[in-house]
């Protein structure tokens, strides 16, 4: 039953944090000091203001606690990465770099090759641009295969017209993950230690140096298992487009500040060393969830997030170099965005639930708890403002809180600085991005409820096949001992 309550477990931890804060305030009487409002006359108008501020010691104490909590989770993540880096345990960490280096020491297995796989399901509108971007790479891929999955449009002919290899899936009902598994199962047989596979979404344009950079990294480090791209939003799509671009710009900044430490090997474009995928497939059903022989877990709603956790659990070394950039399609409407984010959110929760709380997943759990906590923080803030407004007939300015607001504006603007003036202007308004954040908060809560009610998740326009989920979930539970 726990698997259905995973979202509530995450929320419960966040609520516990809130309860502790509430209890601390009531028991230490740390309420706000509110000196009586004073009046100044500005430009002929009376302005009421108050030097209301929380007690300094309470602020310092809560900030210190918050930083300690963040430091613990960051520390646990770094410790896990370092453990994998140093591990020689081929049985529990078969993809640890030192294990791989032991296996390839002193032998040259040929230069690094790149086979690009483009899974496509009716992508005639966008596939051309994706293939053009591949053609413009400073280092050309060695092979490009378009995997046409149940296409009823011109996808296949567009690919063939460019002289590219096309593989059509056979009886695939397991979406993108199923299509990739079909193709990889035959390709991996012939692949050697320096052959790599790059998975590129059909709506994603690579920046020209992506492959060159990836090849350099794989050549310089035979212990490296995967490289993830940094995704940026395409231009256009109005305000909603800019909101998504700002989000992606901040994500890329976070990854740079993490020095390339991967959070998700994005499904838009990531490169994998063949042996890593072989080990991954062979470990499904034992060290990691899934069906033995499958590279991608077909039960996962977000297969890119899942494969990242899988590789991390196996000790793999991976990185996101800042030159490996891609431009991806943005959701044109709020409805599309809702569907996309609901899938991401549900996928993220279901994935961490499938793996349980391990050293490889602790960072992902903490991220979900962080989201839940921020939902409460933001909504109690809205509630407070609402109650304040409906309980008074005078408007009072609070200089302390105005300065805090200024800090938030500076943070929002600097974090999207690279996105250009449109990004900075939007961020400076603060309110519009707050509305966007509230939208994402609602998606989070909807995801939690949907998992609890076992509602069928939707992929784009089609319902996800329930049978696939059932079979794979069964294997998760058998292997991981997760209660059903």
């Amino acid at each position: 039953m726990f698997s259905r309550a995973v979202g509530f477990a995450v929320i419960a931890i966040a609520v516990a944090g809130f309860a502790v804060l509430w209890w601390t305030i009531t028991s230490t009487n740390s309420t706000l000091t509110t000196p009586p409002a004073a009046i100044v006359v500005f430009a002929g108008l009376p302005i009421m203001y108050s030097w209301q501020a929380p007690p300094l010691f309470a602020v310092i104490a809560s900030v210190i606690i918050a930083f300690i909590v963040v430091a613990i989770f960051v520390g646990l993540e770094i410790r896990d990465i370092n453990t994998s880096r140093r591990s020689l345990k081929g049985d529990s960490k078969p993809l640890a770099p030192r294990v791989i280096m032991d296996a390839t020491r002193g032998v040259f297995y040929g230069p690094v090759t790149v086979t690009v796989l483009v899974p496509a399901h009716n992508e005639e509108d966008v596939l051309g641009a994706t293939l053009d971007a591949l053609h413009e790479q400073t280092r050309q891929p060695d092979r490009v295969i378009v995997i046409a999955d149940n296409c009823t449009d011109a996808t296949v002919s567009i690919a063939r017209a460019r002289g590219l290899e096309v593989r059509e899936t056979i009886d695939n009902r397991l979406k993108k993950a199923g299509a990739l598994n079909q193709a990889l199962s035959s390709l991996l047989h012939q692949a050697g230690p320096n052959d790599t596979f790059m998975i590129v979404d059909a709506d994603t344009r690579l920046k020209p140096q992506f492959i060159e950079t990836a090849v350099r990294h794989f050549t310089d480090d035979r212990g490296l298992s995967a490289i993830g791209g940094l995704f940026f939003g395409e231009p256009g799509r109005g305000l909603l487009g800019q909101l998504q671009r700002n989000e992606y710009t901040r994500y890329a900044r976070d990854i740079r500040r993490r020095r390339g430490r991967v959070f998700v090997l994005t499904g838009t474009a990531s490169v994998f060393r063949a042996p890593a995928l072989k080990v991954l497939a062979s470990q499904r059903g034992s060290l990691i969830p899934g069906i033995r022989g499958d590279v991608y877990d077909t039960a996962a709603l977000t297969e890119d997030n899942e494969i990242t956790i899988a590789l991390k659990s196996l000790g793999a070394l991976m990185t996101s170099p800042s030159q490996c950039q891609v431009e991806t399609e943005l959701m044109p409407t709020w409805r599309d965005l809702w569907r996309q984010r609901l899938r991401w959110q549900r996928g993220a929760l279901e994935n961490i639930n499938a793996y349980g709380l391990t050293s490889a997943t602790v960072r992902y759990w903490s991220q979900q708890v962080g989201i839940a906590y921020s939902v409460f923080a933001l909504w109690t803030f809205f509630l407070l403002i609402f109650l304040q407004v409906v309980s008074t007939d005078t408007w009072i300015w609070y200089p302390f809180w105005l300065s805090v607001g200024a800090i938030f504006i500076i943070e929002r603007v600097t974090s999207v600085w690279r996105g250009g003036w449109a990004a900075r202007l939007l961020a400076a308004t603060l309110v519009i991005e707050l509305v966007y954040d509230t939208f994402l908060d609602i998606v989070f809560l909807k995801g939690v409820i949907d998992i609890a009610l076992k509602r069928n998740a939707r992929w784009g326009n089609e319902a996800r096949p329930a049978g696939a989920k059932h079979v794979a979930q069964k294997s998760h539970h058998l292997d991981q001992g997760v209660e059903s």
């Binding site: 809130f18 804060l21 509430w22 305030i25 009531t26 740390s30 309420t31 706000l32 501020a53 929380p54 309470a58 602020v59 809560s62 900030v63 918050a66 930083f67 963040v70 770099p97 280096m101 390839t104 020491r105 002193g106 032998v107 040259f108 297995y109 230069p111 690094v112 230690p193 320096n194 794989f218 050549t219 310089d220 480090d221 035979r222 212990g223 500040r257 020095r259 923080a377 109690t380 803030f381 509630l383 407070l384 109650l387 304040q388 407004v389 409906v390 309980s391 008074t392 007939d393 005078t394 809180w401 805090v404 800090i407 938030f408 500076i410 943070e411 600097t414 974090s415």
Partner: protein, 70 residues
């Protein structure tokens, strides 16, 4: 002389109720926490300068070329 204030929906005395006072403190502390985190995000991240990091010496090459000097 005391002025009697009434809000739009609730009496102004609600602002002095235990619930509101604690809620206000809770939001104030949370906002302070997020402001501190925002400051941490504004500031450039400090990494260990290279002279304090272990050298680039490796016991063996990590390159795919066994004879590489990297």
């Amino acid at each position: 002389m005391t002025e009697l204030h009434t809000g739009i929906l609730l009496p102004e005395s609600f602002l002095n109720s235990q619930f509101f006072v604690v809620l206000a403190a809770l939001v104030a502390l949370n906002t302070s926490i997020y402001a501190a985190l925002a400051i941490a995000k504004i500031l450039p991240k400090i990494f260990r300068p290279s002279i304090f990091r272990p050298g680039k010496y490796r016991r063996e090459t990590r390159s795919i070329y066994p004879d590489s000097s990297d």
